[in-house]
Symmetry: C3
């Protein structure tokens, strides 16, 4: 847990930024099988509305409590879910370390996801922020928790691809 002893703050920031960049290219390049590997084994991944997050209400659009559940989601996405073909394009910016406690870094970033369907039109699909807890395992950053706190309540289709 003693990352501060071995990694400098600049290096920690750089690695957290790199995690963020790799995460979105993984999704946008449709390498979803690699997606769970950004998380710890006992992770939390939750997609929750801005309002429920602010009022501390538990209801979420997606709620996964372990890496295993993330793998199940990818498997369902590949084999079971039926949905209109689409492509995501993430822009994630302004990642900021809000605090640190016992080797857990609180990190917040803004995101927008654009969606392009087969008709070739691109639209704003969803905006919001990531609220993350990042830990280091063997010197590499992992998401212990990623809350996707979304602004856009009007989700025009089944949310099947992770954000």
């Amino acid at each position: 847990m003693s990352n501060q002893e071995t990694l400098g703050l600049t290096e920690i920031k750089e690695k957290i930024q790199q995690l963020s960049d790799q995460y979105i290219h993984c999704i946008d390049d449709d390498r979803l099988e690699e997606w769970p590997e950004f998380f710890t084994e006992d992770c939390t991944y939750k997609i929750i509305s801005r309002e429920n997050y602010a009022r501390n209400l538990p209801s979420a659009l997606i709620y996964c409590k372990s890496k295993g559940m993330l793998k199940d989601r990818v498997s369902a996405h590949r084999n079971a879910n039926i949905f209109e073909a689409h492509f995501y394009r993430h822009i994630v910016s302004n990642s900021l370390i809000m605090g640190e406690s016992n080797g857990v870094y609180q990190v917040q970033s803004n995101y927008v996801v654009f969606q392009t369907k087969l008709d070739g039109n691109t639209e704003v699909y969803n905006t919001g922020k990531y609220v993350d807890q990042v830990v280091f395992e063997q010197g590499e950053p992992k998401l212990k928790e990623r809350l996707v706190v979304y602004d856009t309540l009007n989700i025009p289709s089944l949310l099947v691809t992770p954000i």
Copy 2:
């Protein structure tokens, strides 16, 4: 003023980036009371169209000439203005130091602000660039001037929340 002597260029860039990140999370998280603290006492904050900026015309949508005026704006926003509830989501990217003179850094960034209203729809509200003058006070970066040069002339509602 001799930041160059005490802070390296990499550290200066890092601190300016952090200022930019903190600024937008402050607005998007609705902590507007903290917003004036990003500026110097004698600051300039102006929201001006691309065309007026290019032609050096003075007319601006918002023009504040001191930190006190920024505080007044926040106070009006909280207590006086009547407007439809909405949420902002900023994406600010590609911050670039364009030059430096006597400890004043010229910095330019691109921004897009998305707006979500209570119906839950998110739309592109405004795009443009920040043209900043950043100084360091006690080693911390402050906005001596922020010009919000906007592309989007068609502003669909009263612009009440700072950009």
Copy 3:
């Protein structure tokens, strides 16, 4: 070619990020005459659809094979093409070095271009990713290849300004 000997990885990343930032401000500030200078003499600049890129099909919307061809494009843009006045606003994020081989860095970034026309409305014009090969000449990064791989098939007007 031995950049690794003279430049550290952090510095290389920083310089590649700076190239990316300068590139978009050059276009968005309408300094197109400087745009070819981001490329090597024998560069490739191609705007290609996601599908053609994935299937390795050659057809591209724009295909330039040298810096000279880029200069020709700018010249045509200034003097020959007839098109509706418009402004671009780029957001380029999440630049990631995917690999390196013989001093050539493979870099991938996500982009969105917003377009504002004279009516003052801003819309999502195009999203996609840059797939770049970056080399260093006299310590400065240059684009040996930039592939603009776009999601948005529906391009509502002649694509005249480079992305």
